[in-house]
């Protein structure tokens, strides 16, 4: 597991799934349909991503799929870093 994915999983588990071991959280588990992350949770994830990875979150690009799974969040972080690097 790469470092970014590890950090994302640790955050999700700590904030939203305190009874679940990190290793049990699958990269493709649907956090939204599964009821793990609600509307306030989404805002919390956005704020954490900004702080943790020092990335700006462009809300014109945001949709629910950006935060549906750990894998999607990781892809979003990678994309944001690439954009920041290109600028």
């Amino acid at each position: 597991m790469d470092e970014t994915t590890q950090k994302i999983k640790a955050f999700i588990v700590e904030e939203f799934m305190p009874d679940v071991p990190v290793e049990d959280l699958d990269d493709d588990f649907d956090l939204l349909t599964g009821g793990v992350v609600d509307s306030l949770g989404l805002l919390k994830v956005v704020a954490w991503l900004e702080d943790e990875f020092d990335i700006g979150v462009d809300d014109s690009e945001l949709g629910p799929d950006s935060f549906r799974t750990v894998a999607a969040i990781k892809a979003y972080v990678d994309q944001a870093r690439e954009t920041a690097h290109a600028e």
Binding site: L32, D38, A47, G56, D58, G63, P64
Partner: protein, 385 residues
């Protein structure tokens, strides 16, 4: 007196823009108590707002905007709040800026912008947004109005309530559930002209304050909207709504800071001249203390709003900051309005002085834009509670 400049960071252009609104204050205030008593939206004053160019401030020049950022916008609006006593009109203005034009500029297609954006920021067409429902207020994700995909269209069905400027609006941003996804993931935003078949606008709702800005209910029955009227992606409505609410709070509550400053100045003037027991009432520490608290409340509000606006301007998340700024300002404004009435005594209790209207207008603020209770829940959640 003149409104206090918050810091020395402003350019001459920003200062000039802010000052330019002062020429309209007298006309904007003419007859505002009568308009309030008659629950009347004044079209002549709307024309003044249009002529002032204030709606154009945060929009791109290619659409007729002035190309400024949100920080400039709130800096200018603070002065408008200071000089204009028609709070309902200012509420309609903020709604015009944030409800359709802001999300259209950021999330809309070029085709949609071509059709509506220039006319929205001119004020030629009036806009509103439809979020709350009879059983879903500050908890917007509990909405049950649906948008069902059907070929090249979405079909809207449901009811909305507390629609600011609803009876006036030509176009409304409607937030509705799409698909089966629950919570935040299932909300999509659509720009809907009010003459669309199946779109029903209710009668104005009588309320305590903000009487020059009408509210109403809306109902959608088999209301068909072309897919191209969608803002952003399917399911992105929650993020659009967050963006819009950040703008809304910054605009409305910065005007409130201006209002608080003007009210405090009136109280200082009155406290210096009104005599009781052989001295000015301002020399009475109980009265002076109320005015000191008014000053602390307005400066606290100003600081939080400008700090939040700067952070928002840099594209950073303001979830906690915006809730704190909204809470602090709305509660400070109610306290300020109550203190002003008390300081003016029986005169403050009359309609003639306009201070009772200030209180009636202020009481809505802890409720709209997400109740203060909900804002506290948001802050608690961000703290991990």
């Amino acid at each position: 007196m003149a409104l206090t400049a918050p810091t020395g960071e402003w350019t001459d252009e920003q200062k000039s823009l802010r000052k330019s609104l002062s020429q309209h204050f007298e006309a904007l205030n003419a007859g505002h108590l009568e308009d309030d008593a008659a629950n009347r939206f004044n079209r002549d004053k709307w024309q003044l707002i249009r002529d002032s160019g204030v709606i154009r401030i945060p929009f791109a020049e290619q659409w007729g905007g002035l190309g400024h950022d949100v920080l400039t916008l709130v800096y200018v609006l603070e002065n408008l709040g200071y000089g204009c006593r028609d709070t309902g009109l200012l509420f309609a203005l903020a709604t015009q800026v944030v409800s359709a034009a802001i999300p259209l500029q950021k999330f809309g297609s070029d085709d949609l912008k071509d059709r509506y954006l220039s006319r929205l920021i001119d004020g030629e067409i009036i806009s509103a947004h439809a979020i709350s429902e009879p059983n879903a207020g500050s908890d917007a994700t509990a909405m049950i109005t649906t948008a069902t995909e059907d070929g090249d269209e979405y079909i809207l069905d449901g009811k909305k309530i507390w629609i600011t400027s609803g009876p006036l609006a030509d176009i409304i941003t409607v937030y509705a559930k799409t698909g089966t996804a629950g919570g935040a993931a299932g909300i999509t935003a659509f720009l809907v002209p009010t003459d669309t078949s199946g779109f029903h606008v209710g009668e104005p709702i009588e309320k305590l304050g903000l009487n020059t800005c009408p509210f109403c209910e809306l109902e959608f029955r088999d209301c068909r909207v072309p897919k191209e009227n969608m803002l952003g992606k399917p399911g992105a409505g929650f993020f659009i709504l967050e963006h819009v609410m950040n703008y809304e709070i910054l605009c409305i509550f910065m005007m409130m800071v201006g209002e608080m400053e003007e009210r405090m100045e009136r109280c200082i003037k009155w406290a210096k001249t009104r005599q009781a027991f052989g001295a000015s009432i301002g020399s009475n520490q109980y009265v002076a203390g109320k005015i000191v608290d008014m000053k602390i409340g307005l400066e606290n509000s100003r600081k939080h709003l400008y700090d939040t606006a700067r952070r928002f301007n840099r594209g950073r998340s303001v979830t906690t900051e915006i809730s704190m700024a909204k809470l602090i300002t709305s509660e400070a404004n109610v306290a300020s309005a109550l203190s002003a009435i008390q300081i003016f005594g029986a005169r403050g209790y009359t309609r003639e002085y306009g201070l009772e209207k200030g209180l009636r207008d202020a009481i809505g603020a802890p409720i709209y834009s997400g109740t203060n209770e909900t804002q506290r829940v948001r802050i608690a959640s961000m703290l991990g509670l």
